[in-house]
Symmetry: D2
């Protein structure tokens, strides 16, 4: 019995659905995570390009939009275990060029920037409270890396009981094996996978349903 069969037999892999009040969460699309000389590479640049299209759709439909950045204190006051495992992470300080959101996805005023120092966008941040303030029931996730901060954010989004949609072509990773393996886990247990184009079409439909 192959893996998909085992998961299907045990009851995994069902859809948790797309709710009525979505938000868009863009994880760690910063310069240092798109550049292969730092933590980037693989299919990350194409995930940025796909996210750019989705971001335009999200803005057109007035979705709440949040971006995460990894930000450590200038003098390493908050350097922790994560910086031991991944050397160089502590260089993502407030003003370091590496830590700035890529220009293709530059945030607009009133969009939220979440500073975080751990993999999950929810850990040690007020993201969950902000989503509550916007009455969000569904979190659409793009970003990088699939096997790192995206995966951790998706698990926490689901754990908070937000329906979670991962843009399968809007998330990327420096290496394709972990990218695929994590999409498998995510789809089986935590979130539904859609393409950016499918999500944009659905946002349009949601909007029309609301207006009629």
């Amino acid at each position: 019995m192959n893996e998909l069969d085992i998961y299907a037999k045990q009851g995994f892999g069902n859809s948790s659905g797309f709710g009525a009040r979505p938000a868009l969460l863009i994880v760690d699309f910063v310069i240092g995570f798109t550049d292969p000389e730092h933590f980037g590479g693989g299919n990350i640049l194409s995930a940025v390009a796909n996210t750019k299209t989705l971001l335009a759709a999200a803005r057109a439909h007035s979705l709440p939009i949040a971006y995460t950045r990894i930000v450590y204190a200038d003098h390493q006051a908050d350097k922790g275990i994560f910086c031991l495992k991944a050397k160089g992470l502590e260089k993502f300080t407030e003003h370091a060029p590496l830590g700035q959101i890529v220009t293709e996805l530059a945030p607009e005023p009133r969009e939220l920037i979440v500073r975080k120092s751990q993999p999950s966008a929810f850990f040690g941040t007020s993201l969950a409270a902000w989503l509550i303030s916007k009455a969000v029931d569904t979190v659409i996730v793009t970003g990088c890396t699939t096997s790192g901060c995206v995966r951790a954010s998706v698990v926490d989004s689901m754990s908070h009981n937000f329906r979670t949609i991962v843009a399968r072509d809007g998330v990327g990773d420096r290496a394709l094996g972990p990218h695929q393996a994590n999409l498998f886990d995510i789809e089986q247990k935590y979130a539904d996978l859609w393409t950016c184009a499918e999500i944009a079409t659905h946002l349009q439909a949601l909007n029309q349903a609301r207006e009629s």
Copy 2:
């Protein structure tokens, strides 16, 4: 360039080390997660057997010991998104036989049982506060599944800045592909991998250092 090379080049895969005050966390070794007719299978039973030996060592050295169980309310008051993705999870109620810790690893009085309803042992629980009360600096993790509740618990343990040690032969999964893929991610980014025997030997050494 293969995956290991990419990760090595970018600075991942370093050791975060083993601290001075470890605790043992045993994730979801309950009947329904060891039985292949429910959510078990794969190498889970051998992980239970290895954990049994490690548990004896942890008790011999008076480590704080915690076990997690998935527990949902009897009338599904708290059935959430996770139960949509994984059908049947809501059957793990307080008194359901499926949800009881396996007899090989029966908790003793004064060991902590953590009831949880999400993947991570830390989410919506007082595990972190309990570890603080015990002055723990290192969390040793065994349990199942590697690609699910173990992975989520390890990410949160590291995010809380506990040095985290995953017993590579004390964690198991229903399918080996996700098991291996998640051990890769864990070792590269979140925790160090040791065997149960290596951990037991190290506990002995820690104890001798303390006594001398």
Copy 3:
């Protein structure tokens, strides 16, 4: 300048309002917190009586309803700092008569019981995630004590960005000075104060607005 004037001059004491999707949270109305021989006394019994009426209204309008209990492990595995400050708290174990919800407010199936070991109903629990799953935007709080677990729960409810309504005659305390002092702080900074009767009338109005 008296206290109210100082607070008014500095911009405190405004209303945060009553939203569209309320839930009812009943904090620690258990036998040991109503009995003056244990942790009860003062105006707690009258707060229970007023809550009973409000609970009937909440059920009539199908609000999500949650109750908290303080529950420590049978063998004190999780006895922490709170039990040092307040001796005897650790006696509130799962099956101790002291720790059972008072019969006047007996929960029905499908209503949520939240086990907690700290003052706030949100700390180390999945209450926030449950409220998200019910699309709640407003938390109505009754319970005891005003100066303890109610206050802590209200601060956390507001911090999660739930509009918070405290039933001023549905919360009680063993001593009236702290009760009044905490209602002052709550009204100035965290929540709006309504009577149980005003809340019940408003629920009726919300329901009619929804139906028409």
Copy 4:
């Protein structure tokens, strides 16, 4: 029976003690919370002066030191319920003069600055994880206001199972009634009250014990 008698009879008001590895937490001593034209007044300036002495002692003994600031996004992306209750809070943006830490207590490099948008220093921040990384077992709290962000931070510190010491002359409030009422609640249930001078003397003794 007066209030103190009721609390004493029921088992409250015990000491939770001073541990071996303290940290200093300075809550919201920023310009806008010391100036009576904004949110300051009362005994806040004298609490700043006392904290200055304690801070010197904490630095002399190499304690981990953290400061909180309230920081909202520049374009009010994260304005929530708290800003409805307390008008003007949203003006505490990253670069607003109001939101800067007072010059008497200017942080040094390697001391932690915690940005928060809610009353508690722990809510939506990585303070707890940072304290874990420093192996802290005791949190010494100064700051303002006693009835607001200090109280909320103290409750959360205790809930995380940190022994908590409130510097009774290092915390201040715009009005003395709420200041006193909250010190009462804090001492009865959550933390021990010491003067700044008593704390400094104890730090000296801890240091000597460690050296001998």
